[in-house]
């Protein structure tokens, strides 16, 4: 991916500032990828991405086939949605979505057990850059590392910008999570994926692999860019502005499947792990399969369970109900037993400075959080809360158990509310 092999020794030395080293626990679920059982029912939300929700183009009672488009993108920053099984639409309504407190309009589809592909699905033979972007958009591909930004939008390079580097992000820095890890171990078609991406952005083929220091949040794209290319992309700008396109390996794999086979994004790798799950596994799961079904396929709970988390332990969302569907951005299901989830006693800040030392974006988390605690949102705003990516390093390392991320989120919500009311 990089210009020259000579740069590799330097790569390893480079790093980003801050970060933490939680126990990675990846041994739990790093096993061969297995195909999950075909679900009897899927719940497919129309809003699985950043941007505007897709508009449903099916009706209740309609028969659908695997891969058929069921909702259409409603703008450039939006994504198509396809059904992941063949069967009948039995309901369209609001359903919980695997992000804390969010819901989305969703189609509930009952399987006919045939798992038949739609006739629309066929391999393409794209030639031009635009054709490849069209295929990516048609396949409804979004960033699968969790950010879920529509990929066709990300790869559409504005006039005048030149991309020098394509990074495939396989860092997967969250503890427990092994979906990208398993994918990289098993899939041999990485070069294909890179070639297709290069063609999509008119790049040249020149591949390097960079090994990085194990540190969280290494997999956040700005930290990866800092560590590999030693460029700092500020919160207000995009990697694009620095000649860089970065994509998660699962996303690259989805692009490859879309272009070579014509497959829309209807399945993904999900690792299932944590102390509360009987058999940790890494599964290839149809989008829309419920957490409850996947947990059942992993032998159910092994202990009294306190939390079921979509994603990893650092940034994942805890679920109130396990009847939520796996979406395009769900890389992991983490089940934490009661004994692992302790009620913490919040103490006063002793100014140890940990939050400052671990913050990868160079903030003073305590000043945002402590002002937030007192309701002084305007004062908190002076400490750049909008730079915060909520990676969780500060709260992870706070000896006083101050819920820094939550307090910073409160400030951000207040800022966004005020900005909206101004408009």
């Amino acid at each position: 991916m990089l210009k020259s092999k000579k740069t590799i020794p330097n790569l390893i030395a480079k790093r980003f500032r801050g970060g933490v080293h939680p126990k990675d626990r990846k041994e739990l679920s790093i096993k061969k990828i297995e195909d999950a059982e075909l679900p009897a029912k899927v719940i497919i939300p129309f809003h699985q991405h950043i941007g505007t929700p897709a508009r449903p183009i099916i009706e209740i009672g309609q028969e659908v086939k695997k891969g058929q488009k069921i909702a259409e993108a409603t703008g450039f920053i939006s994504a198509n949605i396809h059904t992941s099984i063949s069967g009948k639409i039995i309901n369209i309504g609001r359903n919980l979505y695997p992000a804390l407190g969010r819901s989305s309009l969703a189609a509930v589809i009952e399987s006919d057990g045939k798992d038949e592909w739609s006739e629309e699905i066929k391999p393409y033979f794209p030639v031009t850059q635009q054709e490849i972007l069209d295929i990516i958009a048609e396949a409804g591909i979004v960033g699968m590392g969790g950010a879920t930004f529509p990929t066709h939008a990300k790869l559409s390079i504005p006039e005048g910008k030149k991309i020098e580097t394509v990074l495939l992000n396989g860092a997967e820095c969250e503890p427990y999570v092994t979906s990208d890890y398993a994918l990289m171990l098993e899939e041999k078609n990485k070069p294909d994926a890179i070639e297709i991406m290069n063609r999509a952005i008119h790049g040249e083929q020149n591949i390097d692999i960079a090994t990085l220091k194990v540190k969280y949040p290494q997999g956040w794209e700005n930290m990866l860019i800092k560590a590999i290319l030693n460029k700092e992309v500020p919160a207000s700008r995009l990697p694009l502005d620095f000649g860089i396109v970065i994509s998660n390996v699962s996303t690259a794999h989805a692009i490859s499947n879309a272009v070579r086979l014509g497959h829309p994004l209807i399945e993904r790798i999900v690792s299932v792990n944590g102390s509360g799950i009987a058999q940790p596994r890494t599964l290839r799961v149809r989008i829309g399969t419920t957490f409850a079904e996947i947990i059942r396929q992993c032998g159910g709970y092994s202990k009294q369970v306190a939390k079921v988390i979509a994603g990893g332990p650092m940034m994942g969302s805890s679920m109130s109900d396990i009847n939520v569907p796996v979406t395009k951005g769900t890389n992991n299901i983490l089940v934490l037993a009661k004994n692992e989830v302790k009620e913490t006693n919040q103490r006063p800040c002793i100014r140890c400075g940990n939050c400052i030392n671990v913050c990868p974006v160079g903030l003073i988390p305590r000043m945002i959080a402590l002002n937030s605690l007192k309701g002084q949102f305007r004062e908190a705003e002076k400490y750049f809360p909008l730079d915060c990516k909520e990676c969780g390093c500060c709260a992870y390392s706070c000896p006083a158990n101050i819920p820094l991320v939550q307090l910073i989120q409160t400030v951000k919500a207040d800022i966004n509310k005020r900005r909206r009311s101004v408009k």
């Binding site: 500032r17 804390l100 503890p175 700005n222 800092k226 700092e232 992309v233 500020p234 919160a235 700008r237 159910g300 092994s302 202990k303 009294q304 369970v305 306190a306 939390k307 079921v308 994603g311 332990p313 650092m314 940034m315 994942g316 969302s317 805890s318 679920m319 109130s320 109900d321 983490l334 934490l336 009661k338 989830v341 103490r347 006063p348 002793i350 100014r351 140890c352 400075g353 940990n354 400052i356 030392n357 990868p360 160079g362 903030l363 003073i364 305590r366 750049f384 730079d387 909520e390 969780g392 709260a395 992870y396 390392s397 706070c398 000896p399 006083a400 158990n401 991320v405 939550q406 989120q409």
Partner: protein, 333 residues
């Protein structure tokens, strides 16, 4: 196994490292133990009693105040234990036993509790306790018991025909202040602690062993202690370079008095020192300069205590201007 079906929901992160305030405080207690042992070895078992009384008084005062004001009783977190220990370790070994109790009382009741307790105090409580004792009992607080071997005790007893409990005299810094620099102790004695001084301050060796624990646990960083001690070394180096060229004064200044204790255990107090590493450098350099000004120009032979207290007052100002570099932003302007 199925459970009640109720799931806990909370914001991320869902895991936490093992650090906690009690763990930090009790580690500081452990890191002070080598100096406690050294003090006991040099001055006798009575100093253990002084330290114990200081700790009990600090913990008791904090618990009493929290009880009276209907606050959560939090003495188990170890912070009052640290304050009591530190206070007792920076007073002379010959003080009456009640004095460490009084000092700890002042430390908690005047320097910590009124500001809101742990995390909110501006000045280092133990140093405030010491400063109040020094102002209230100037004679007792500057009467320095000397480490005494059995042999010296016998020889003095036989010479004077009187049983001897202890010998007192001026500390090395006190002698220098008076200009008598001919009969100073060997540096090695100063370093390992066979010299007159406060209970826990004399053995730099023991203090450095304890400080190593804190450095390895990353509860303190090198920034404050090294800039503090380095500044003192440089200033005394310069005064000797342009003065008597008696460079032995540099290690004497470093290893006698409370510099090691102050730089590693007092100035590094998280609550009262700057929160950034860069701010810590400024703090250390400032404390070093003030220490030298007091030692060279001031009325006291020792200036570590006041230099740290003065820099404590500057900590909010330092924190206001020294900020970490925002990712991707060239300058902080």
């Amino acid at each position: 196994m199925q459970d009640d079906g109720l799931l806990t929901i909370s914001t991320s992160p869902h895991i936490k490292d093992k650090e906690s305030i009690p763990k930090i405080m009790w580690t500081v207690v452990i890191s002070l133990l080598p100096a406690v042992f050294a003090g006991t070895y040099v001055f006798g078992f009575r100093v253990l009693l002084i330290i114990l009384i200081g700790v009990i008084s600090a913990v008791g005062t904090e618990a009493l105040i929290q009880y009276i004001f209907h606050r959560e009783i939090t003495v188990y977190d170890g912070s009052a234990v640290v304050t009591g220990m530190l206070l007792a370790m920076v007073i002379p070994p010959g003080v009456p036993l009640w004095m460490s109790a009084l000092g700890s009382f002042f430390a908690i009741a005047l320097a910590k509790a009124p500001f809101g307790g742990l995390g909110y105090n501006i000045f280092n409580p133990a140093l405030i306790g010491r400063a109040i004792l020094l102002a209230s009992f100037p004679v007792v607080m500057t009467t320095w018991q000397f480490p005494m071997s059995m042999q010296t005790a016998i020889s003095i007893s036989s010479a004077t025909n009187m049983p001897v409990d202890s010998i007192t005299g001026a500390t090395t810094l006190g002698l220098i202040k008076r200009g008598s620099i001919d009969n100073l102790l060997p540096i090695w004695n100063l370093f390992i602690g066979k010299s007159g001084g406060s209970i826990g301050e004399t053995s730099d060796l023991a203090l450095l062993i304890g400080a190593t624990i804190l450095l390895l646990k990353r509860y303190i960083t090198w920034h404050i202690p090294i800039s503090f001690i380095g500044t003192v070394a440089i200033i005394f180096g310069l005064t000797e370079l342009f003065g008597d060229k008696n460079f032995i004064m540099i290690p004497i200044q470093l290893f006698s008095g409370g510099l090691t204790m102050g730089a590693f255990f007092m100035a590094t107090d998280m609550v009262t020192s700057p929160i950034t590493k860069k701010g810590g450098l400024i703090f250390g350099i400032g404390a070093g300069i003030i220490t030298c000004v007091i030692r060279i120009l001031g009325g006291y032979p020792e200036g570590v205590c006041y230099s740290i207290l003065l820099m404590n007052a500057f900590t909010p100002l330092i924190d206001r201007y020294i900020k970490p570099k925002r990712f991707g932003i060239k300058s902080n302007a």
